[in-house]
Symmetry: C2
Subunit: 142 residues, 2 copies
Protein backbone atom coordinates (compact mmCIF):
# COMPACT_ATOMS: atom_id res chain seq x y z
CA UNK A 1 0.00 0.00 0.00
CA UNK A 2 1.41 3.36 -1.01
CA UNK A 3 1.26 6.18 1.48
CA UNK A 4 -0.34 9.33 0.18
CA UNK A 5 -1.61 12.73 1.23
CA UNK A 6 -5.27 13.48 1.03
CA UNK A 7 -5.68 15.59 -2.09
CA UNK A 8 -8.89 17.40 -1.21
CA UNK A 9 -9.06 20.36 1.16
CA UNK A 10 -12.27 21.94 2.33
CA UNK A 11 -12.25 25.73 2.13
CA UNK A 12 -13.63 28.02 4.75
CA UNK A 13 -16.91 29.70 3.84
CA UNK A 14 -15.03 33.00 3.60
CA UNK A 15 -12.66 31.53 1.00
CA UNK A 16 -15.56 30.04 -0.93
CA UNK A 17 -17.35 33.42 -0.96
CA UNK A 18 -14.19 35.13 -2.14
CA UNK A 19 -13.88 32.78 -5.11
CA UNK A 20 -17.59 32.91 -5.87
CA UNK A 21 -17.57 36.71 -5.78
CA UNK A 22 -15.02 36.81 -8.59
CA UNK A 23 -17.00 34.43 -10.75
CA UNK A 24 -18.72 35.44 -13.97
CA UNK A 25 -19.49 31.98 -15.35
CA UNK A 26 -20.76 28.69 -13.96
CA UNK A 27 -23.41 26.02 -14.17
CA UNK A 28 -26.84 26.02 -12.64
CA UNK A 29 -28.49 22.72 -11.72
CA UNK A 30 -32.23 22.53 -11.30
CA UNK A 31 -34.46 19.57 -10.55
CA UNK A 32 -37.62 19.21 -12.58
CA UNK A 33 -39.82 16.29 -11.53
CA UNK A 34 -36.76 14.90 -9.73
CA UNK A 35 -34.80 14.96 -13.01
CA UNK A 36 -31.60 17.00 -12.96
CA UNK A 37 -30.96 19.69 -15.56
CA UNK A 38 -27.76 21.74 -15.99
CA UNK A 39 -27.43 25.17 -17.63
CA UNK A 40 -24.08 26.87 -18.29
CA UNK A 41 -24.50 30.61 -17.84
CA UNK A 42 -22.99 33.98 -17.04
CA UNK A 43 -23.65 35.42 -13.62
CA UNK A 44 -22.97 38.44 -11.49
CA UNK A 45 -22.35 37.79 -7.81
CA UNK A 46 -23.32 40.60 -5.51
CA UNK A 47 -24.31 40.93 -1.86
CA UNK A 48 -24.42 37.18 -1.29
CA UNK A 49 -26.73 36.66 -4.23
CA UNK A 50 -26.19 35.32 -7.75
CA UNK A 51 -27.82 37.31 -10.55
CA UNK A 52 -28.48 35.81 -13.94
CA UNK A 53 -30.35 36.76 -17.08
CA UNK A 54 -32.44 34.55 -19.23
CA UNK A 55 -35.20 34.59 -21.80
CA UNK A 56 -38.48 32.76 -21.72
CA UNK A 57 -37.99 29.04 -22.22
CA UNK A 58 -36.96 25.84 -20.51
CA UNK A 59 -34.55 27.36 -18.07
CA UNK A 60 -37.01 29.88 -16.82
CA UNK A 61 -39.93 27.50 -16.64
CA UNK A 62 -37.73 25.12 -14.63
CA UNK A 63 -37.00 27.85 -12.13
CA UNK A 64 -40.63 28.83 -11.95
CA UNK A 65 -41.76 25.43 -10.78
CA UNK A 66 -38.80 24.60 -8.59
CA UNK A 67 -36.91 27.42 -6.96
CA UNK A 68 -34.24 25.28 -5.25
CA UNK A 69 -31.07 25.51 -7.29
CA UNK A 70 -27.42 24.55 -7.06
CA UNK A 71 -24.75 26.68 -8.73
CA UNK A 72 -21.23 25.43 -9.38
CA UNK A 73 -18.14 27.19 -10.60
CA UNK A 74 -14.62 25.83 -10.84
CA UNK A 75 -11.16 26.15 -12.29
CA UNK A 76 -9.06 23.10 -13.03
CA UNK A 77 -5.76 22.23 -14.59
CA UNK A 78 -4.70 18.62 -15.06
CA UNK A 79 -3.23 18.49 -11.54
CA UNK A 80 -4.89 21.11 -9.34
CA UNK A 81 -8.21 22.86 -9.13
CA UNK A 82 -10.95 24.30 -7.04
CA UNK A 83 -14.71 24.10 -7.08
CA UNK A 84 -17.29 26.17 -5.23
CA UNK A 85 -20.89 25.06 -4.85
CA UNK A 86 -23.63 27.43 -3.73
CA UNK A 87 -27.17 26.35 -2.98
CA UNK A 88 -30.13 28.62 -2.59
CA UNK A 89 -33.50 29.80 -3.76
CA UNK A 90 -34.12 31.44 -7.11
CA UNK A 91 -36.74 34.05 -7.78
CA UNK A 92 -37.64 36.09 -10.84
CA UNK A 93 -37.28 39.84 -10.45
CA UNK A 94 -40.58 41.60 -11.05
CA UNK A 95 -40.27 44.95 -9.29
CA UNK A 96 -39.31 48.03 -11.28
CA UNK A 97 -36.61 49.00 -8.77
CA UNK A 98 -34.98 45.59 -8.57
CA UNK A 99 -34.98 45.27 -12.37
CA UNK A 100 -33.44 48.74 -12.70
CA UNK A 101 -30.74 47.71 -10.21
CA UNK A 102 -30.08 44.47 -12.10
CA UNK A 103 -29.78 46.44 -15.35
CA UNK A 104 -26.68 48.11 -13.86
CA UNK A 105 -24.90 44.79 -13.24
CA UNK A 106 -22.00 43.85 -15.54
CA UNK A 107 -23.83 40.83 -16.85
CA UNK A 108 -23.77 39.62 -20.42
CA UNK A 109 -26.14 36.95 -21.68
CA UNK A 110 -24.93 34.35 -24.16
CA UNK A 111 -28.10 34.82 -26.15
CA UNK A 112 -28.94 38.37 -27.21
CA UNK A 113 -32.60 38.71 -26.49
CA UNK A 114 -35.22 41.38 -26.50
CA UNK A 115 -37.10 39.74 -23.65
CA UNK A 116 -34.82 39.97 -20.64
CA UNK A 117 -35.79 38.23 -17.45
CA UNK A 118 -33.63 38.50 -14.37
CA UNK A 119 -33.35 35.77 -11.78
CA UNK A 120 -31.66 36.28 -8.44
CA UNK A 121 -30.50 33.37 -6.32
CA UNK A 122 -30.29 33.96 -2.60
CA UNK A 123 -27.50 31.70 -1.39
CA UNK A 124 -28.09 29.93 1.91
CA UNK A 125 -25.36 27.30 1.71
CA UNK A 126 -21.86 27.51 0.25
CA UNK A 127 -18.93 25.14 0.21
CA UNK A 128 -15.64 24.94 -1.62
CA UNK A 129 -12.86 22.45 -2.11
CA UNK A 130 -9.34 22.52 -3.48
CA UNK A 131 -8.08 19.48 -5.35
CA UNK A 132 -4.63 18.12 -6.07
CA UNK A 133 -4.05 14.93 -7.98
CA UNK A 134 -1.98 12.82 -5.66
CA UNK A 135 -0.38 9.45 -6.17
CA UNK A 136 -2.89 6.69 -6.30
CA UNK A 137 -2.72 4.05 -3.58
CA UNK A 138 -2.73 0.39 -4.43
CA UNK A 139 -6.09 -1.28 -4.29
CA UNK A 140 -6.74 -3.17 -1.08
CA UNK A 141 -7.48 -6.78 -1.84
CA UNK A 142 -10.12 -7.84 0.64
Amino acid sequence: MTTHNDSVTEMSEAQAWELLSGTVFGRLAVSVDNQPEIFPLNVHVDDRTILLRTAEGTKLSSLAVNERVCFETDAFTSRVGWSVIAKGSAHILTGTDEIAEADQAPLRPWIPTLKTIYVRITVDEISGRRFTIGPEPDRVIS
Copy 2:
Protein backbone atom coordinates in the same frame (compact mmCIF):
# COMPACT_ATOMS: atom_id res chain seq x y z
CA MET B 1 -33.51 48.16 -32.01
CA THR B 2 -30.09 46.84 -32.98
CA THR B 3 -29.93 44.00 -35.45
CA HIS B 4 -27.94 41.02 -34.27
CA ASN B 5 -27.06 37.47 -35.20
CA ASP B 6 -28.27 34.67 -32.99
CA SER B 7 -25.26 33.64 -30.95
CA VAL B 8 -26.26 30.09 -30.10
CA THR B 9 -25.99 27.19 -32.51
CA GLU B 10 -27.29 23.72 -31.80
CA MET B 11 -24.82 20.98 -32.64
CA SER B 12 -25.71 17.74 -34.32
CA GLU B 13 -25.68 14.69 -32.05
CA ALA B 14 -22.59 13.46 -33.89
CA GLN B 15 -20.74 16.70 -33.06
CA ALA B 16 -21.85 16.51 -29.44
CA TRP B 17 -20.62 12.91 -29.17
CA GLU B 18 -17.29 13.89 -30.71
CA LEU B 19 -16.75 16.60 -28.09
CA LEU B 20 -18.01 14.40 -25.27
CA SER B 21 -15.71 11.58 -26.32
CA GLY B 22 -12.67 13.79 -25.84
CA THR B 23 -13.76 14.92 -22.39
CA VAL B 24 -11.96 13.91 -19.21
CA PHE B 25 -13.62 16.36 -16.83
CA GLY B 26 -17.12 17.66 -16.22
CA ARG B 27 -19.92 18.08 -13.73
CA LEU B 28 -22.53 15.56 -12.73
CA ALA B 29 -25.93 16.76 -11.55
CA VAL B 30 -28.12 14.47 -9.48
CA SER B 31 -31.50 15.12 -7.89
CA VAL B 32 -31.99 13.97 -4.33
CA ASP B 33 -35.51 14.50 -2.98
CA ASN B 34 -36.01 16.94 -5.86
CA GLN B 35 -32.99 18.96 -4.67
CA PRO B 36 -30.21 19.40 -7.21
CA GLU B 37 -26.62 18.48 -6.38
CA ILE B 38 -23.54 19.04 -8.58
CA PHE B 39 -20.24 17.13 -8.46
CA PRO B 40 -17.16 18.09 -10.48
CA LEU B 41 -15.33 14.94 -11.50
CA ASN B 42 -13.02 13.18 -13.90
CA VAL B 43 -14.58 10.82 -16.39
CA HIS B 44 -13.70 8.43 -19.18
CA VAL B 45 -16.08 8.36 -22.13
CA ASP B 46 -16.23 5.07 -23.96
CA ASP B 47 -18.76 3.26 -26.13
CA ARG B 48 -21.52 5.83 -25.52
CA THR B 49 -21.12 5.57 -21.76
CA ILE B 50 -19.49 7.80 -19.15
CA LEU B 51 -17.34 6.03 -16.59
CA LEU B 52 -16.47 7.63 -13.27
CA ARG B 53 -14.84 6.58 -10.03
CA THR B 54 -15.89 7.49 -6.56
CA ALA B 55 -15.62 6.42 -2.95
CA GLU B 56 -18.37 5.73 -0.50
CA GLY B 57 -20.09 8.93 0.54
CA THR B 58 -22.62 11.53 -0.54
CA LYS B 59 -22.02 11.23 -4.25
CA LEU B 60 -22.48 7.51 -4.29
CA SER B 61 -25.46 7.48 -2.00
CA SER B 62 -27.11 10.08 -4.24
CA LEU B 63 -26.63 7.85 -7.25
CA ALA B 64 -27.86 4.81 -5.40
CA VAL B 65 -31.25 6.34 -4.66
CA ASN B 66 -31.68 8.20 -7.93
CA GLU B 67 -30.06 6.82 -11.05
CA ARG B 68 -31.16 9.63 -13.41
CA VAL B 69 -28.21 11.94 -13.94
CA CYS B 70 -27.18 14.86 -16.13
CA PHE B 71 -23.53 15.35 -17.11
CA GLU B 72 -22.21 18.62 -18.47
CA THR B 73 -18.86 19.53 -19.95
CA ASP B 74 -17.86 22.77 -21.59
CA ALA B 75 -15.07 25.05 -22.75
CA PHE B 76 -15.50 28.81 -22.70
CA THR B 77 -13.47 31.90 -23.37
CA SER B 78 -14.88 35.35 -22.76
CA ARG B 79 -16.43 35.45 -26.23
CA VAL B 80 -16.98 31.91 -27.51
CA GLY B 81 -17.66 28.51 -26.07
CA TRP B 82 -19.39 25.22 -26.29
CA SER B 83 -21.31 23.03 -23.88
CA VAL B 84 -22.42 19.43 -24.18
CA ILE B 85 -25.07 17.93 -21.94
CA ALA B 86 -25.63 14.18 -21.68
CA LYS B 87 -28.48 12.61 -19.77
CA GLY B 88 -28.75 9.00 -18.79
CA SER B 89 -28.94 6.35 -16.14
CA ALA B 90 -26.14 5.61 -13.69
CA HIS B 91 -25.37 2.22 -12.24
CA ILE B 92 -22.66 0.96 -9.95
CA LEU B 93 -20.41 -1.71 -11.44
CA THR B 94 -20.53 -4.89 -9.40
CA GLY B 95 -19.40 -7.64 -11.77
CA THR B 96 -15.80 -8.83 -11.69
CA ASP B 97 -15.44 -8.54 -15.46
CA GLU B 98 -16.90 -5.03 -15.75
CA ILE B 99 -14.72 -3.82 -12.84
CA ALA B 100 -11.64 -5.35 -14.44
CA GLU B 101 -12.51 -3.57 -17.70
CA ALA B 102 -13.03 -0.28 -15.87
CA ASP B 103 -9.64 -0.72 -14.17
CA GLN B 104 -8.06 -0.42 -17.61
CA ALA B 105 -9.62 2.98 -18.33
CA PRO B 106 -7.37 6.07 -18.16
CA LEU B 107 -9.31 7.52 -15.29
CA ARG B 108 -7.80 9.38 -12.37
CA PRO B 109 -9.79 10.20 -9.26
CA TRP B 110 -9.29 13.51 -7.50
CA ILE B 111 -9.30 11.73 -4.18
CA PRO B 112 -6.88 8.85 -3.77
CA THR B 113 -8.91 6.19 -2.11
CA LEU B 114 -8.53 2.61 -1.14
CA LYS B 115 -12.20 1.91 -1.72
CA THR B 116 -12.81 2.37 -5.43
CA ILE B 117 -16.33 2.23 -6.74
CA TYR B 118 -17.03 2.55 -10.46
CA VAL B 119 -20.18 4.08 -11.85
CA ARG B 120 -21.12 3.88 -15.49
CA ILE B 121 -23.67 6.22 -17.03
CA THR B 122 -25.52 4.92 -20.07
CA VAL B 123 -26.32 8.02 -22.13
CA ASP B 124 -29.74 8.11 -23.74
CA GLU B 125 -29.91 11.82 -24.62
CA ILE B 126 -27.20 14.20 -25.76
CA SER B 127 -27.20 17.79 -26.94
CA GLY B 128 -24.62 20.43 -27.55
CA ARG B 129 -24.51 24.14 -28.26
CA ARG B 130 -21.91 26.61 -29.46
CA PHE B 131 -22.02 30.13 -28.07
CA THR B 132 -20.72 33.44 -29.33
CA ILE B 133 -21.22 36.66 -27.44
CA GLY B 134 -22.96 38.93 -29.88
CA PRO B 135 -23.97 42.56 -29.63
CA GLU B 136 -26.82 43.09 -27.25
CA PRO B 137 -30.05 44.46 -28.69
CA ASP B 138 -31.79 47.39 -27.07
CA ARG B 139 -34.54 46.54 -24.69
CA VAL B 140 -38.01 46.75 -26.16
CA ILE B 141 -40.13 49.17 -24.18
CA SER B 142 -43.60 47.72 -24.07
